[in-house]
Amino acid sequence: MLDQHLAPHANALSIRNKRMEILGANIANAATPNYKARDIDFSQAFQQAMGTSGNMLTTNAKHIGSLGAQGPESRYRLPLSASLDGNTVELHVEQLQFAENATRYEASLQFLSDRLRGMRTALRGE
């Protein structure tokens, strides 16, 4: 029950964290020849994490789980204009996405914090 109450925001935080690493990697590789920028689709990764789509059940030790079980899948970004050295990082896009992701991480954190505070208030019965 407690798990269900907190799961959406906990999952969202973990995916946001993963996405921050990937966007950080894109920014780090802004000058690397032939580097292809990547990103993850948040809504797809979130549905996967909540078990509402995609994941196959493994009821036997010999079953192979779906790839989604290993974490969100990253895809290559389609560049508006790729540079001549094969690099597809567009700094303005990455910076924008990074800022958006950080803000949404903070929002999820706030929601999680509020839920915890709500439960504490209920426990105290003040």
Binding site: K18, I27, A28, L116
Partner: protein
Amino acid sequence: MKALTIFDISARAMSAQQVRINAVASNLANAQTITSSAETAYRAMRPVFETEFPLRQAGSGVASVSAVDIEQSKVAPEKRYSPGHPLADPDGYIYASNVDVNEELVDMMEASRQYQNNIEVLATAKSLILKTLSVGK
């Protein structure tokens, strides 16, 4: 290589940009260097960047960058006729370095901007982690 955190990613990228800035500094310092033969003339250095994929996270999209090599510019050094120069060869020629100062300054600016971008990523990640630590207080 072990798993990379966002701090590792940005730190490595900053080291790579640092190598680039060092190369620019060396090139600019030697922009006016003169020698008496084409072979010994100073040639501009350029670091080569390569993406680093951590083994355990292959395919996850997490990757950093490192300066794997430093290449020398293939532009021929400038040959100048200056018989009075103390370093002139028997035919009266001196050889100046092939550094293009404009190119170096542009490179320096790009490296410095990208260094700043990585610092920004680091600062944002740090503040989010600190906020996460104080959840529920």
